[in-house]
């Protein structure tokens, strides 16, 4: 169930030249699964900006974002003590399927993989991590994943995250991915079995009212903000996207 929460900025950290980490405090009770997102109201912008949850616990929330436009530019300038009007606990999240999952993140699709890795670890399941970055300068969180105890590999530039997986030949029974659509498509094409993919969309409300982000799938119309952002790889109609 979504909830409206006023979060307080505790810390802001620059991770790369254009990627930031925010740690917020406030009610996180609406967030129940890794892969969910929040939707933040910013000054001078009409629509909220959706951001995936990187990590959370009772009373704190971590977000990682890349500066891509007016909303994220403003978010990159918040200071400790600032408050953020936020709708939280949005979207469906990952199902934590499998005993030997691989988690695949590309660019700003990496943050939700962090909470997902921790959630698997709490179930005593050790996921393997595959990350894709545009360049070494764009890399973040490789050490954080390793500190969790996860074997973590990173690909840069023209080497794709799918090349990395093909190369390492990991044994896996499930996969979860978040990243740009071409990456999701390549991952779904290459990986065995049914995986979970997280999609991005321009959203109106983020809580299902406007149907602005509804996509066609093989199992019917789905609102990316409610029935997604995580979808099964076998329900995606790649032609209709």
């Amino acid at each position: 169930m979504p909830k409206s929460v006023l979060y307080t900025v505790e810390t802001r950290k620059k991770l790369t030249h254009d990627t930031y980490e925010l740690n917020l405090s406030g009610d996180t009770s609406a967030i129940t699964k890794p892969g969910q997102f929040v939707n933040i109201l910013l000054d001078g912008l009409f629509l909220r900006r959706p951001l995936s949850v990187c990590d959370w616990d009772d009373g704190t929330l971590r977000l990682i974002f890349k500066v891509v436009g007016d909303g994220t530019r403003q978010l990159a300038k918040v200071r400790p003590g600032d408050t953020l009007d936020t709708l939280t606990g949005l979207g469906n999240g990952y199902t934590l399927t499998g005993r030997a999952p691989i988690l695949i993140g590309g660019g700003v699709g990496i943050p939700p993989m962090y909470a997902l890795a921790k959630a698997y670890l709490r179930k005593c399941v050790l996921p393997r991590i595959f990350l894709g970055f545009r360049s070494p300068d764009d890399a973040f969180y490789i050490d954080e994943f390793r500190e969790l105890g996860c074997e973590t590999a990173a690909a840069y530039g023209s080497t794709l995250v799918t090349d990395l997986i093909r190369d390492r030949q990991p044994a896996y029974d499930h996969y979860c991915a978040c990243g740009p659509e071409p990456m999701l498509k390549a991952v779904a094409k290459m990986c065995r079995g049914v995986g979970e993919l997280s999609f991005e969309a321009r959203m109106g409300c983020g809580f299902g009212a406007c149907v602005g982000c509804t996509c066609r799938t093989l199992t019917g119309n789905k609102r990316i903000c409610v029935e997604g952002p995580v979808m099964r790889s076998d329900e995606i109609d790649w032609e209709a996207l």
């Binding site: 406007c210 409610v226 209709a240």
Partner: protein, 304 residues
Amino acid sequence: MDTKITLSGLTLDNPIIPASGTFGFGREFAAFYDLDILGSFCLKGTTREPRYGNPLPRIAECPSGMLNAVGLQNPGVDAVIEQELPEVAKIFRKPVIANISGFSIDEYAEVAAKFDACAQVGILEINISCPNVHAGGMAFGTDPKSAFEVTQAVKKVTRKPVYMKLSPNTADIARVAKACEDAGADGISLINTLLGMRLDLRKRRPLLANVTGGLSGPAVFPIAVRMVCQVARAVRVPIIGMGGVSCARDVIELMMAGATAVEVGAANLRDPYACPKIIEALPDVMREYQIEKLSDIIGCAVKE
């Protein structure tokens, strides 16, 4: 403080009505608040057949507003009546407003006839103003003659009050409103969104897959005030005013311009609590402007 208003015999506790297409069938908002505080609410625009609408992206940010090119996604009238209305009944105990779209005069009449049989539906709002479909939709609402024909066809098949929802994308909205009134419309709803467009500078292409979309939000509020006023001077039937309403003061302003009730649209998407906040603020704002009875101010500013 009396916030009651009456639309064609239907008395609402207050004039606040979430607008069609910004409120789904109410479910998403029932997670945030008790919908019974609303005057009424407008159901998602409904067509004869189920529709997916336009491809993504269909939403874009704008200065003080947004573009949408959803394109009338809805499950079709039969599913709305059989599946959605019983669900609505569980979360809203007052009459709702059904919003109807069509691609032919026959389709409008057929969908209206089906809603006519639903006791839950208090008013039919006939959308002849959707800018996001390529046939029908807005085409019926920009020309007085076709607006007349749609109104007449719908009036023939229903005993419920019929409110024609008009487009601002026309040279003379008062003439279209008058044509609807002449054809027997019980009221007029306005304004639908204004046709707009944004570009994706990186891709050097239109941002919306549909190329154009409907502009809503505070950016359009002054246009709504002007057009409600123009229509109020042209017709005697009640007006449901809308377009960029985001606070209780906007409600007062649209009512003074001639609206009997006010729909709130894009504001619901930005803040799910937009309507309860407006309803809560109304008595204080009424006091501020020495308004005892809200219905007293309808059209007070535009009487010639």
